[in-house]
Amino acid sequence: MGLSRSDGRDIAELSGDEPWITTKLDQFVNWGRKNSLWPMPFGTACCAIEFMATAASKYDLARFGMERQAFSPRQADLLICAGRVPFKLAPVLRRIWQQMPQPKWCISMGACASSGGMFDNYAVVQGIDSIIPVDVYVPGCPPRPEGLLYGILMLQKKVANERSGDKTLRQEMEPDPKSQLYIAPSVIDEVSEPFGNSVHQTRSGL
């Protein structure tokens, strides 16, 4: 086979009757990563209640390798932002994301985290993707546990398809040092425009 250890003994000879496989390194690493994601719940509203239901015995998040919930960002792989994020909390969420070590992913759970939801007002961030990069958006108000599980499975699929040769994958985002924004202000303004019902709201009460 040509596979040999440094001492010159053939691996096939060493393994004997024990089963062994060959695989691509990427596939092996990704398999390990996707089945041991440690989620860090960042629950700010009712979505966090659904998240708790997802983690509890009936839906049992542990089935997908999430037995251990990380309540410290330094020991987490996956940030699940569940609920609306007011502007006052924006620097906190940004800091938590920066404290998480690579590799890390983010799920934006629910309408408010993804787009501001019904809170198209002065106090709420219109989508956390203007603060931190998001991998999976889970729609719903709040999403049912099945919805969150579907989102998590989508993320696992994404993790499984990552390639270590892709150098952009693990790059830390670099916010603009002056404005602390990491996407262009015009883009933020554009995606934060009112949509749906709130188009008909007046900008002022008078």
Binding site: I131, P185, L206
Partner: protein, 234 residues
């Protein structure tokens, strides 16, 4: 050692023949039994009372802004009133531009089982300033700060009148005022830029921490920063 604590039993000052508390039924929109404190105030502060009304069984008393502190002080101190609980301080602005802005105090007397709503009217164009009742009720601290944060009403005599809900360097105005646009005055990117400029760790002023006696326990770096007079990172 903490001091011995005497619980206030609701209705305890009413005497043995007082009826047991019951949920009021068939309450009319206007009219009905009035809070007896109103008559006492009318007698004592005759020129300060603007009007009084009973709405949905609750008594509202509109008084002169210059004398509201005196009246609330009396309601708190007088043995025949004993309003010992301030449950809310808030304000109301109406869509009608002619109508004055109202500052509202919700007072409750547990011993006499009474509720009184005291209002002060601020005409349009007048300075938004009323006296603080912090020296009477310590619970007024955050209630007045919230009211200042949302309406911009200044409470004269409040020891630490800062924003409570919005961050301290919030520049867009007072969100619950009728002339405040729902989505704020700045563009979304500008709002986000200002929000992200805040330092999430610097959250307390030295004064707040010294009240809690926590200043000495802080890390040196934070002590140094607060020692320089940094109020907050926001």
């Amino acid at each position: 050692m903490s001091q011995s604590f005497t619980p206030v039993i609701a209705g305890s000052a009413l005497g043995a023949d007082a009826t047991a508390p019951a949920t009021p039924k068939n309450v009319r929109y206007q009219g009905g039994p009035r809070n007896p404190s109103v008559d006492a105030i009318r007698e004592k502060f005759a020129d300060a009372v603007v009007r009084a009304a009973v709405v949905w069984g609750e008594t509202t008393l509109v008084v002169d802004g210059a004398r509201v502190h005196e009246i609330i002080q009396w309601l708190h101190d007088d043995p025949s009133q004993r309003y010992d609980f301030l449950s809310d301080v808030t304000a109301v602005e109406f869509r009608d531009v002619e109508q004055p802005l109202e500052v509202v105090w919700h007072l409750r007397s547990l011993p006499f089982r009474r509720f009184l709503r005291v209002k002060v009217l601020i005409e349009k164009g007048e300075a938004l300033e009323v006296p603080s009742v912090w020296d009477i009720y310590k619970s007024a601290d955050w209630l007045e700060r919230e009211c200042y944060d949302m309406f911009g009403i200044r409470f004269a005599g409040h020891p630490d009148l800062r924003r409570l809900l919005m961050w301290e360097r919030y520049q867009e105005g007072y969100p619950l005022r009728k002339d405040f646009p729902l989505r704020g005055r700045f563009s979304r990117s500008e709002q986000l830029r200002q929000a992200l400029a805040a330092n999430p760790e610097a959250r307390y002023s030295k004064e707040e921490l010294s009240i809690a006696d926590a200043f000495e326990d802080l890390p040196n770096e934070m002590k140094r920063r607060l020692g320089k007079g940094e109020v907050t990172g926001e």
